[in-house]
């Protein structure tokens, strides 16, 4: 009885998740009248704007990940090692982006960093790119921080540090050579999640007027019929890829730990 | 007619026969222990009585009622788990009241019963606390009170003391036994600690590989083990090989011995003769049936008891002597003798 209900709930849920995926895939293949074809995909991949925006978002994602790692790893490490009393404060900050909507944050950026402000970032393309990167780093902060902090919990930060110090290592060496490799898996899993977030992000890029992948998809959706579902399939594949890599990293880590 | 009876219980998980033809009759108010090594099926038997596992075959009768097909919540049974079974979201009082509440007992009656139960377990002031504010021993006492509050017909305890430290374990086991006597509640207690089983129980069931090897009073199980497994599992044992020379006589390390009971083996066969450590004495004792030369191998000072290991008669013999202020324990390597009485020898079957 219970099992029947459970199966029912589970299968209905699966149906709800599968139908849109089937729908977008089927639709994306219907560009040519009467037969299934990959024409929509050819059109998407043949569009230089696709590659330009995708490349732009990818570059921004890379920058975001670097900023995130440089920001989060030392902070999380330091909080664990020396500043446990700062933990509630830091954790509160890292959770704020889940509470304050992204559109509000970017609205604040636009008004704060305009051409007449103390830091006129929106005045130039490079400045806006930097601002957008910081915005993405903010959006990714909750995930990155939690991932790294969990990773740090599994290693004995204090002992590792003391051992390194007794061998004469400085802070930079300790962080780069000792701590980072030990939380690499956590960093990677945070990085892939960041990648997924940045590639699909729309609001910040659109409002800062940058040629990112998200606004490109939106624009295409407003003007075409068959390319958007093809894009959705591609985006889904990318998301799946990012999550797959994330899991792979975790599994690899477990494997490594089991061997050690 | 016994109060609780398990007849021909069988339980199979997949192809794994975990409980085999298990029979047990328990009198009202009796305290029974299931004792056995890990994985021998103790918990499975208990869970079948509670109703969490359905027997593959066999039946369970409580107070004349066939309960085999009933759900756990229809059996009116109390159960205490190893640990962590208190509901963390309820205070001590709410935990104890839970069974009465789901039965629909009125609030004032419930409160009175909770108070009575908390007094019984010696924690009358703790009603308002949450489980995390209690020590492990206190938590288990509350678990006992919770199990007893609805006045169950049978109390089941699955290693309730094993997560506690040694001191608390001893004091709590005495307390459980006292409360059990006071209420006269029929109890099955699962443990793999033989000391616990022997000290608490009216009768002990020694289990091995899903089979009840022996059922009997602690004194009987300890002194008259019916199988080799029981003899070796319950208490420490010295085993000698003996050659059968007659219907009731053997030779032990060359010394002829007349046994208290007949041997069921033909002449010339080898039998295992077992002896408890406390039945072996150090030195030559007047009236001993066998005296063997021995070399002291190790001495363990346990306080009131000194456990000595000596090599004698071709095997290592463990023996216990009482501590005496005027007699220091023997030195390691000392040459001496050990004495034993034929009446203490247990012939092990199989």
């Amino acid at each position: 009885m219970m099992r029947v209900v459970a199966w029912g709930v589970f299968l209905l849920g699966c149906l709800f998740f599968l139908l849109p995926l089937v729908g977008m895939t089927e639709f994306s293949l219907k560009m040519r009248r009467g037969v299934y074809s990959f024409d929509a995909y050819a059109a998407v991949f043949g569009d230089p704007a696709f590659w330009a925006t995708f490349g732009y978002s990818l570059a921004l994602a890379a920058a975001t990940i670097v900023v995130g790692v440089v920001l989060v790893v030392p902070t999380a490490y330091w909080v664990r090692l020396r500043l446990p009393q700062a933990r509630p404060f830091v954790e509160f900050i890292t959770l704020l982006p889940l509470v304050i909507p992204a559109i509000v944050i970017v609205f604040g950026y636009i008004r704060m960093y305009n051409t007449s402000s103390f830091l006129p970032l929106t005045g130039s393309a490079l400045g806006t790119d930097i601002l957008l990167t910081m915005g993405y780093a903010t959006l990714a902060l909750p995930y990155m921080y939690r991932s790294v902090d969990t990773g740090l919990r599994t290693i004995d930060v204090g002992t590792l540090t003391e051992a390194a110090q007794s061998l004469g290592a400085g802070w930079v060496t300790i962080l780069a050579r000792i701590i980072l490799p030990n939380v690499m898996v956590a960093v990677l899993s945070g990085a892939f999640l960041t990648l997924a977030i940045v590639l699909g992000e729309f609001t910040m890029a659109a409002l800062l007027n940058r040629p990112a992948f998200g606004p490109y998809m939106q624009l295409l959706g407003a003007n075409r019929a068959y390319e958007p579902p093809a894009l959705a399939v591609i985006a889904f594949a990318i998301t799946w890829g990012c999550m797959g890599l994330m899991q792979l990293a975790t599994r690899f880590a477990k494997h490594e730990r089991a061997k050690a | 007619m016994s109060f609780l009876s398990l007849s021909h219980l069988e339980k199979t998980f997949g192809t794994n026969r975990v409980v085999k033809d298990f029979n047990l009759s328990v009198e009202k108010g009796e305290f029974i222990s299931l004792l056995g090594p890990s994985g021998c099926g103790k918990t499975t038997v208990l869970r079948m009585v509670a109703g969490f596992e359905t027997p593959t075959s066999g039946g369970i009768v409580i107070d004349g009622q066939e309960v085999t097909g009933l759900k756990p919540n229809q059996r009116n049974i109390g159960m205490m788990f190893q640990a962590y079974a208190l509901f963390p979201n309820m205070t001590v009082a709410e935990n104890v009241a839970f069974g009465l509440k789901v039965k629909g007992v009125a609030k004032d009656k419930r409160d009175a019963r909770v108070e009575e139960m908390l007094r019984l377990i010696g924690l009358p002031e703790m009603g308002g606390r949450y489980p995390f504010q209690l020590s492990g021993g206190q938590q288990q006492r509350v678990a006992l009170a919770r199990a007893l509050a609805p006045s169950p017909r049978v109390l089941l305890l699955d290693e309730p003391l094993s997560a506690l430290d040694a001191k608390v374990r001893v004091s709590l086991r005495n307390e459980i036994r006292e409360i059990q006597r006071e209420l006269g509640i029929t109890t099955i207690f699962v443990t793999h600690d033989q000391e616990e089983a022997l000290s608490m129980s009216d009768r002990v069931v020694v289990m091995n590989g899903g089979i009840a090897e022996q059922v009997g009073a602690p004194f009987e199980v300890y002194n008259r083990p019916s199988t080799r497994f029981v003899a070796t599992f319950v208490g420490t044992l010295n085993v000698f090989d003996g050659a059968v020379t007659g219907p009731q006589s053997v030779t032990l390390a060359g010394v002829p011995v007349t046994l208290a009971e007949p041997v069921e083996a033909s002449k010339g066969a080898t039998v295992a003769l077992a002896l408890r450590p406390e039945a072996v004495q150090l030195g030559r004792v007047e009236g001993a049936d066998v005296v063997l030369p021995a070399t002291i191998e190790s001495v363990e000072f346990l306080g009131s008891i000194i456990r000595v290991r000596a090599r004698a008669g071709g095997s290592v013999v463990a023996l216990d002597t009482f501590n005496r202020m005027d007699a220091p324990p023997p030195a390691i390597g000392a040459e001496t003798e050990v004495s034993l009485h034929a009446r203490d020898l247990i012939v092990l079957a199989g």
């Binding site: 729908g23 700062a86 008004r111 729309f202 959705a232 990012c242 | 789901v102």
Partner: protein, 291 residues
């Protein structure tokens, strides 16, 4: 512990805190100050004087309706997301489904909870949009015209269904570990004490899960409340919900008062923060029994 040396040598105190200075600067520049700018702007006239007029100006039919629709949208998708996600997680954890379905479900949930925004809208348009797979299938096979039944993807309920695609998986991801944390002993102890399955869930399991469910609800609520991309890609700028309105306002001053945008954004912060404060308050109340 680290507090000791601090007490003995107070001069080392600031050095310790220097370690999180980069983080503090980043958070200040890109999170705190921009937010403060919004909050301040909501109470300023265009030339910088203090005023309550912006907040009062929110009280128009159109803006009130936008807030109300947004709150309803967030509430429904969070509630339905919690309910359905809980049911699916419970089915997998307790329902006796084969062990093999658990890990794929969690992986898929990880993907689906991140598959939001523009492409998600495309997927639903292709499925239940005017010429979507299911719409067409129902029409040609059964003669059912969804539109005639009042269903329209580009409407409130269409948005609810679309949002559920990422809300449900998020709930599954968060609640599955919590369900794993329910000890078997609790269920069995309740059963031998005479409780039915329903009584166990009502008196033991749900109270224990309550904080997790509530926290997820608050998270899902904020998640839906601030979402722009999905709604924008689905309906364009017409749909009257707060984030879309704010989006339009930022792109070009559609409200006729630039500082009204601040007030609109401040209102959003108030509501998501309010939802989370409510959560924290309820959690503190419900967790007296937690360490």
């Amino acid at each position: 512990m680290p507090t000791e040396p601090i007490r003995r040598a107070p001069r080392r105190f600031p050095l310790h805190w220097l370690g999180i200075l980069p983080f503090a600067i980043f958070a200040t520049l890109f999170l705190i100050l921009p937010t403060m700018r919004i909050v301040l702007g909501a109470f300023q006239t265009p030339d910088g004087g203090f005023t309550l007029q912006n907040m009062l100006d929110l009280n128009t039919d159109s803006i009130r309706a936008a807030y109300w629709t947004s709150i309803k949208l967030s509430f429904y998708t969070a509630a339905l997301g919690c309910a359905v996600g809980f049911a699916m997680a419970a089915a997998v954890v307790f329902g006796g489904l084969p062990k093999g379905v658990r890990s794929p479900l969690l992986t898929f949930s990880g993907v689906a909870s991140n598959f939001a925004g523009v492409p998600l809208a495309f997927a639903f348009i292709a499925t239940i949009g005017p010429v979507g797979l299911i719409t067409v299938w129902l029409r040609t096979e059964f003669g059912i015209n969804l539109r005639a039944y009042g269903f329209n993807l580009l409407s409130f309920w269409g948005l609810v269904i679309t949002y559920l695609f990422f809300q449900i998986p998020l709930m599954i991801l968060i609640i599955t570990p919590a369900l794993d944390g329910l000890k078997r002993e609790w269920r069995e102890a309740a059963a031998v004490l005479g409780a039915t399955g329903v009584q166990y869930w009502r008196m033991v399991a749900l109270p224990i899960l309550f904080p997790s469910i509530l926290g997820t609800f608050a998270l899902l609520f904020a998640n839906a409340f601030g979402a722009v991309a999905t709604a924008f890609a689905l309906t364009g700028p017409q749909l009257n919900i707060v984030p879309i309105k704010l989006f339009a306002q930022i792109r070009g001053d559609v409200l006729g008062n630039p500082n009204l945008g601040y007030a609109l954004a401040f209102g959003m912060i108030l509501i998501t923060a309010g939802a989370n404060l409510l959560y924290i308050w309820l959690r503190v109340r419900s967790e007296r029994w937690l360490k």
